[in-house]
Symmetry: C2
């Protein structure tokens, strides 16, 4: 390496580096040089000092400079030309995301609008319409520790694909978890998925062709309406009452539409947080069997329910033992959405077909997340964590419902558990949601929860996200006097 | 807590615990008690000693025993009954996976058969048909370090959903990476996916309805045939030559079938490892434009190519700048399959539609994997790692090709880079693959790489998996003399 070429610009003033900082010398160089390039103090095309010259003028080792230059190359600030050294690069204009704010609805409120807005980085307390618990309620340290545990193990597990059906020890642990709610499922009957969303997509693709009908409850979780519609399915709603679907309508719609699937939350139904009665569960299975309908039981809120010993809860899969029922659940609500770990439990033959389908659709889910969830389930702390979350929700539910009623909302189905309240605002909640949006608050209007998408006076409120005075002030102002 | 109830069985002999072990006292108790339950020395229904009694008799703290009992409950060995203590539980029979072996093909060889077998835990050197590099070639330490880095950051990022379009800093880094291959794509034109497999599924679902035709190369990557067929698409093959598709056939098939999509590997085509010539690239785009076909450029082997400065490589997206071309790539081949990080680059409008579609299909991909890949790309070590992998493949390619020719295989398209060799065995490779299977070796017969699935004399060999004498002995024995 020679310094006799054209002199390079000094890349940065001397004396900027410090050994006392939290930041490594390499990172200090990277940060400083990058800033000087962004401020155009170092211009595209100009040559950087040689490794040796930079090292000498800043009293650091050549190794430190090599590492810093490598990072600057990786980040697009420098280009390396063999034999000629390092040059400042012309960078493509990096566009930064617009400031977080609720996105205006272009063509009225629709499901993609709501879901996109749910992912915006609004503070949780400004999103009474959100479907998740506040991050600080979840056990971040347990998730971080589990991921660290996974990375400490043999590294080749980080490099290979997982197996398409899902990490076997996790499936074995899920067998135990399902046994607790009286569902018998061997590990080969379980297929892991990227959350319940992917599970529903896979099951719908397995059983329906474009034009087929899928029954859902009305109201129900909105995302699946759009997901099924994207498959060309007709989505038809069965009115949902406090103890389950309207059985008369269910039988009528089954006869009329010959649906392939009926998707239902039996326990802690979204958005009402009510559960299916034992008597209705039995009748649902009879109607489904009579019409050859596969029942898809979405039990994502499973761990927010205190258990059948405390409150009645009848799971369809516990009655039917996965013969005509496909059972879905996951950990996005109670552990970490970001791990994207859900699962399907089904008959052995269907599980095999779904594992093949998953392979064609995404090859595998991330083994890493599955290993982390397995680790957390094994540690025995998850059980207590779930108990704490339930206690916390129990501590605010009755108070929040009373307060909502006081300001003029009607709550006919008072939820015994879970995070949601389905409240009647006595006016079009689409209008209310648009006003809320203008005030920087996200509401979930009832129209979205119906496959009909018709205007509705209901909305879904998340009691864990009703702790901010601004939310209450907004609701009080809007509902004042008119609905008592 | 009282010890005056019915006496509990001693849960484990005294003196078994040691403070010098690598294993914590808690884990030693868990392991020992679990083993005794499995050996039925502790029987279902029997009561465990109280926390206090266990702690006293083994000279450990009550805290240690509580932690151990919790883990045993989580793992299904014990049940806790409030006020009554801990009892040994009846465990559901846990079924273990059958020993790893190549699975016999039930109805002949098909794509799911091959893919299922690729996921079996066969040693890499027994899978000359595999599509991945050996785990020890990849940089496990970099992946582990990146994941640890992610878990050390603010924990709430582990708990929230990511954003449906994908982690923004990763998309910004991908913008730089794409600029290096002359593709201009702003971060909002990039959507992350769970590998190229999911990207293909999403794009096919966006552009086709059942009955529509998708053109692929013949040969080409087999998994997508089954994936597209599952969507109801007709998959039609265009003969692939050493410099790209047979243009005459491409034009004919385009006129005949009015295909919606044409999926192509322009650089390091799977299975031949050859690349598209500039002249053919231009003609492919002209034909596609003339017939209104969207070109899907799958560039998963991108980083195994030494760069256009070293060997010719023309990317369709670099010519067209994402107007009619959708570009897919990812890191499953060169970084870690298990992170499941791939991406789509497309026009701004299509990227928006695909982000919405992804949201309906899986909500989000795992932010954790995306953050880890971002970290690795930023560190500047990935570039050198990719260089090392290329050098390693270069070091074995010519030698392996010569050796294959020596034992009687014909290789007409000698690959200049990449990991695959497309070899003509002069006999039906389905038969050869079945014999290999019986010998515990996995071959990838040519029939699988054709949408026609017709018997073929070709097979795909992975030069990184041809380092074992058993593979060569098998091939030599089978091909001996007959094909020279």
């Amino acid at each position: 390496m020679t310094n006799t070429k054209l002199p390079a610009l000094p890349a940065m003033p001397a004396g900027l580096l410090t050994r006392d900082a939290d930041e490594s010398l390499t990172d200090q160089i990277v940060r400083t040089v990058a800033a000087r390039i962004e401020e155009r103090l170092l211009r595209p095309g100009s040559r950087m000092p040689s490794i040796r010259a930079f090292a000498a003028s800043h009293a650091v080792s050549a190794f430190t400079v090599v590492a810093a230059y490598d990072k600057l190359v990786a980040r697009g600030y420098l280009a390396s030309r063999r034999g000629a050294g390092f040059f400042v690069r012309a960078r493509p204009g990096t566009v930064t995301a617009p400031a977080a704010a609720v996105e205006p609805a272009e063509q009225g409120l629709d499901v993609p609008w709501l879901v996109r807005n749910m992912f915006r980085q609004l503070p949780h307390q400004q999103m009474p319409g959100t479907g998740v618990l506040p991050a600080e309620w979840l056990d971040g340290e347990a998730v971080a520790a589990a991921l660290r545990h996974v990375t400490r193990r043999r590294q080749d597990i980080l490099l290979n694909y997982g197996v398409p059906q899902g990490h076997l020890p996790l499936r074995q642990q899920l067998q135990l978890k399902l046994a607790e709610v009286e569902i018998g499922a061997a590990p080969e009957q379980i297929v892991t998925t990227a959350g319940v969303t992917q599970a529903l997509d896979m099951v719908a693709r397995e059983f329906t062709r474009p034009g087929d009908t899928i029954l859902v409850d009305d109201p129900a979780w909105f995302l699946m309406f759009a997901s099924f519609a994207a498959l060309g399915a007709r989505v038809v709603g069965v009115p949902r009452l406090a103890d389950g679907p309207d059985l008369g309508r269910l039988a009528e719609l089954a006869a009329l539409h010959k649906p392939k699937l009926y998707v239902i939350n039996s326990v802690l139904h979204n958005p009402t947080s009510t559960s299916l009665s034992a008597a209705k569960a039995f009748q649902v299975l009879r109607i489904a069997e009579q019409h050859g309908i596969v029942v898809v039981e979405d039990d994502i809120y499973c761990d927010l329910h205190p258990g059948a010993g405390v409150q009645p809860a009848t799971r369809l899969a516990a009655l039917d033992q996965l013969k005509h029922v496909v059972y879905l659940s996951g950990f996005s609500k109670t552990m970490a959405a970001n791990l994207r770990v859900g699962f399907i439990a089904a008959s052995p033959e269907l599980a095999r077909r779904l594992a093949d389908r998953k392979m064609l659709q995404t090859l595998t889910t991330s083994d890493i997340g599955e290993r982390a969830v397995h680790q957390i389930l094994c540690e025995g702390t998850y059980r207590k964590h779930a108990e704490r979350m339930r206690a916390r929700l129990d501590g605010m539910r009755a108070r929040t419902v009373r307060q909502l009623e006081r300001i003029g909302l009607r709550i006919d189905m008072a939820p015994p558990a879970g995070m949601f309240v389905w409240a009647d605002a006595g006016r079009d909640t689409n209008v209310l949601a648009e006003k809320a949006m203008a005030a920087g608050l996200l509401l979930a209007p009832g129209s979205l929860f119906s496959p009909s998408q018709l205007p509705s006076c209901f909305m879904r409120l998340n009691i864990a996200a009703m702790q901010d005075a601004a939310v209450w002030r907004f609701l009080e102002r809007e509902l004042d006097g008119e609905n008592r």
